[in-house]
Every structure is written in C-alpha cells, then in structure tokens.
C-alpha cells in the first residue's frame, strides 16, 4: 500500500467515524443559535468559530458529514445496482436491446452531469432523497457502460463458453463466471463514485437545491459563508476544507485500490474520472 493510499484510508476512516459518531463528537447542538456571538472567530470553546446565527461550525461540520456520507453511499448503491443489472442485461442480450440501451445512455451523457442533477432537483424539489435520485439518474450510466463493455469481452472468454457448453443457465453464467471478474473494476469505480456524489451533493446544496436549512450540509454552509468572506472567512473555509479532505482521501484510496487491483479504467461518470493506469507503472 502506498503512502498516499494509507493517507487516503486514514482520511476516509476519520470521515466515516465522524459521520457515524456525530452525536458523541459534536461539542454543541448544530442547530442551537447564539445571536450575540454571530460570526465569532475560532476560539478554544469553538475551534472552527461560529456562523451568522452563532451556531458552532465544528458541530455543524460533524453533523454535515452525515448528509455527505448518506448521499455518497446511497447514490453509489443505487447507481451500482441499476448500472450493473442493465449493463449485464445489455451486454448479454446484444442486438437491438443493446443498441437501444446505448442510445439511452448517449442521450443521458449528452448532459453535463451537474446540469441534469440541477434540472432534476428543480423538478423534484430540494431534499436529500431527491439529490440521491437526481445523481443516480446520471450515475448508473457509468457503471452500465463499464459492465457492458466488460461483459462483451468476458462472454467470449473460454471459461464462459465452456460453462455455457456444459449447460450453465444465464443466471449461473452471470453470478459465477462474469460478476466475480467485474468486482475489481466496479469497486474502483464505486470508490471514485462516492467522491463524485459527495462533491455533487455539496454543489447542489451550494446552489440551494440540496439539503435544506436548518439541516447542516457542507455545500450550504460554504454558500452561506461566501457572503461573509470579507469579515469572517472561517465560515466558508472550514466546511470547504472538510469537503476537500474527504474527496482527497477517497481519491487517494481509489488510486491505491486501482493500483492494487491492477484495473484499467475508462473515464466515466461525474466527479473525478479515473485515468487509465499505464502498463509500465
């Protein structure tokens, strides 16, 4: 494991621990205002300072990690399940079904990911669940393309042809001979997918289309803090650093995972595209 992958594991582990143990770690109630102390700079009692309503920024970041984790994991779970199922179906069925599926994906990929997410969030209304739906509508396409391409190549392999010749049914072929070989590339893509979903959630909340106040969200906190950049830069800085550290950690971990599994990846989905690994690295 490389040093950067280890750092990534530490950052991601900290993020998970903070999100899961938020009530134990947050020093204050994240929604508790203290108007007399609004925009106070960092102090011993409030290490990250206080926002425009005097709420403790550290506590809001701790609780805000839950929104990021929830959206990251849920979006990837939905996209991965849907994309894998449709990609397998498309790759194995071939013919017009495969053609139709590819055209649908072409149309969805004709929209910049964040634009479609903004449009869907505007249609469905701003909420965390709708953010997951909006991101999954686009997210599945990356997994479907990857699984389809791998399936097309795997179905020509000798072990799959042998299994079919021996009378294995489609479900046995899929679950025993195709899916296990897809696990590595999918794990790498899912890791980058979590980072992409966290950035997308924060972007939507930044634009007012994600998590709604008073619930804490890193993107919404950053947007609010932007207005006080001149007088209280800490209001925007700390939530921004939280997003950055989390995404950096996941990217480090994804890079390490890709090297470890020796996976060659196409550029897919939203967020950080995974760049193919060179043969001489």
């Amino acid at each position: 494991m490389t040093a950067s992958a280890r750092l990534g594991a530490v950052l991601v582990g900290s993020f998970l621990a903070v999100a899961l143990a938020a009530p134990l770690l947050a020093p204050f109630d994240p929604a508790q205002p203290s108007l007399s102390e609004n925009l106070s700079p960092p102090s011993l009692a409030h290490p990250f300072g206080q926002d425009r309503l005097g709420r403790d920024i550290l506590s809001r970041i701790v609780y805000g990690s839950r929104a990021s984790l929830l959206v990251g994991i849920s979006t990837v779970a939905v996209s991965l399940t849907l994309g894998t199922a449709l990609g397998l179906f498309s790759g194995l069925a071939g013919g017009w079904i495969d053609e139709a599926m590819m055209r649908v994906i072409d149309v969805l990929l004709a929209f910049p990911g964040i634009l479609l997410a903004i449009a869907i969030s505007a249609v469905l209304g701003p909420s965390l669940a709708n953010v997951v739906i909006a991101l999954s509508v686009i997210g599945w396409t990356g997994y479907a393309r990857l699984v389809r391409a791998e399936t097309l190549s795997l179905r020509e392999r000798a072990h799959v042809e042998s299994a079919i010749a021996l009378g294995a049914g489609p479900s046995r072929v899929v679950f025993y001979h195709v899916l296990p070989l897809l696990a590595g590339p999918l794990a790498v893509q899912a890791t980058f997918g979590v980072a992409g979903a966290i950035v997308a959630e924060a972007s939507l909340s930044f634009l007012g289309l994600g998590t709604q106040p008073p619930a804490p969200s890193w993107g919404a906190m950053l947007n609010e803090g932007r207005r006080f950049l001149l007088v209280a830069p800490h209001v925007a800085l700390f939530p921004g650093l939280a997003v950055f550290a989390t995404v950096l950690g996941i990217n480090f971990l994804g890079d390490g995972l890709r090297d470890w599994l020796d996976v060659r990846m196409p550029v897919t989905g939203y967020g950080l595209p995974a760049i193919k690994k060179t043969s001489n690295e």
Binding site: V107, A110, A122, G240, E281
Partner: protein, 310 residues
C-alpha cells in the same frame, strides 16, 4: 459517404433524444407557468386566455411536436418574465460562457501538457511527485471551494483582481482558473500516462536507434503521439466545462448561460430553463462531435466504422 458527415449525422438521434428529454422534464416541474406570469390572484378568464395564447391548452403531444419544429428553426419560445425570445436571451449570454470555457480550457492545456510531460520525463523523481500531487489536489478541489479560496488572497487581501463581474479582462482570470484547474489536473495525469505509454513503444526504440537526440525523440515522437488520447478527453472535458460553468458563473456573477439557467430555475421561467438546458446539452454534443472529427484528422489510422463497431 464522407466519414465526417456520417459522424455528424450520427449526432442527430442524440440531439433528438436530448430535446425530447428536456421537453418532458420541464413539463414535469410542479406549478403552473400561468400562475408565474399572472400571479395567483388572476381571474379564471385571464388564465384561460393566457393558457390558450401560450398553447398550453393543447394536448401534450401536440405541444411536443410544436416544440421540436420550433426548436429546429431556432425558436425556443418566450421568457415568462418579460416575453423576450429565449433564443435572444441565450444569444446575449452565450459569448460570455464560451469565452470563459475557452479561457479555462486554454489554461488547463497550457498547464497540463508541460506538467504531464515533465512528470513522465522525470518519472519517480521529485518533479514527478510534485506534478502528481498537484493533479490529485487539483482534482479534489471543487469549484465552489476553489472560487472563494482564490477570491480571498487575490481580490480581498491583495486587491489585484475583481471579486466578480465581467467588466474587464482581469475579471476573467479568477473564473477561468477556478473552472480550469480541475480539468488541468485530470489532463496532467492523462498526459503523463500517455507519454509513459508512448516512451515504451517500439517506434521510440527505433527513433533512438536511428540516432535521434533525446529531446527530439521526446518532443517529436513521444509527446506528439501522447497528445492523441488527450484530444479525446479534452472533448469530454470541454463538455463538462459547460456544466462546471454553472457554479463558477454563480460564484463570480459571470453573465453567462450557466447563471442564466439558475436564475431561470429560481424564477420558474420554464421556457428559459428549457432553452438553456437544451443549448448547454447541444454544446456538449457538439464538443464531442468536434473531438471525434479532430481525432480523425490527427490520427489517420482511425476509421469511424471500426471505432464504432461493437
């Protein structure tokens, strides 16, 4: 048929799909456009009149066909706010977005090609580590964080560049860097990987065996062929620049189509949302098409039929 023309024709079904999706999407938005225009206190008779004038009383399928026909002629309807043609509003904002995307793309290339090449040339040394580190940091910094982070030192503390707006050439610097940094990080990684791949190819060994100098081998052979995959990703990334522009334009109050889209969503101006989304998606399709055509021009080995055969 000419391969370029065939590739261009292949984009038409995608554009049709995009237009269809946009139309039905917009009609799913809760709320009545007539309410937006007249307010909730308007009389029933006024509502019926306006509904008929806008064609909203017609069956959905008829509205859809009308939308497609009008869109094909460049008519994207009228804004609900003041009746201005949507196409005129977008035309007014499009140059600013294109300028921003071009500046961000140029900056990304100007950083990524030398940095990726240096990184590959000095593989395993500190220059490589620094370039790789930059690429990972840049790719992990979202626009909405990078924007304020740049504003603070360069606008607020040093006063060198404007905080927002588009009044001078200096106004373009921070939005372009904000939008282009993520792209430059991705391209740096790609250039590095492509140069490393190229350096291990047989024709490089041949070039060295011929006695060519190392700089000539590197610049004329390795880097040149490594730029082919970069061209492909550049097209995809140019498309995502249009998406990223929505956030960047909002941060810097840049008067482009991205900001117009968000303003239209805020004011529930459906025809304007529809037009903006359609234009951005078409820009994305066009960027991909141009990439494919450029790829063909750069690499004569590429044959469309073979590339698209699955």
């Amino acid at each position: 048929m000419n391969a370029a023309l065939r590739r261009a024709l292949l984009a038409l079904p995608t554009l049709f799909g995009v237009a269809t999706l946009v139309f039905f999407f917009i009609h799913l938005i809760p709320g009545d456009p007539v309410d937006v225009m007249l307010g909730e206190a308007a009389s029933a008779a006024d509502r019926v009149r306006l509904r008929a004038a806008l064609g909203l009383d017609r069956p959905l399928l008829e509205q859809y066909v009308g939308f497609l026909v009008h869109a094909a002629h460049g008519d994207l309807g009228r804004s609900l706010r003041d009746g201005t043609p949507v196409s005129a509003l977008i035309r007014g904002r499009l140059p600013a977005t294109l300028l921003l995307a071009a500046a961000a793309g140029s900056m990304a290339l100007a950083v990524a090609i030398p940095l990726g090449a240096i990184s590959a040339r000095h593989r395993g040394r500190w220059l490589d580590s620094a370039a790789t580190g930059f690429a990972l940091l840049g790719a992990s910094l979202p626009n909405f964080l990078l924007g304020p982070l740049l504003v603070l030192p360069f606008s607020v503390w040093l006063g060198w560049l404007p905080v927002s707006g588009a009044d001078s050439a200096a106004s373009l610097v921070l939005p372009a860097v904000t939008l282009g940094l993520g792209m430059s990080a991705i391209l740096t990684r790609l250039v590095r990987a492509a140069v490393l791949d190229a350096l291990s190819a047989d024709y490089i060994r041949t070039a060295r065996a011929k006695g060519l100098s190392e700089p000539a081998v590197f610049l004329r052979h390795a880097l040149r062929s490594a730029l082919l995959p970069v061209a492909t990703i550049l097209g995809l990334q140019l498309g995502s620049l249009f998406g990223g522009a929505i956030i960047t334009e909002t941060i810097f109050a840049w008067p482009g189509v991205g900001r117009l889209t968000l303003q239209a969503i805020d004011s529930r101006d459906y025809p304007l949302v529809q037009g903006c989304v359609l234009v951005i998606a078409c820009g994305y399709v066009a960027a991909n098409l141009l990439t494919d055509l450029a790829y063909q021009r750069l690499d004569p080995r590429v044959r469309f039929g073979r590339r698209e055969a699955r």
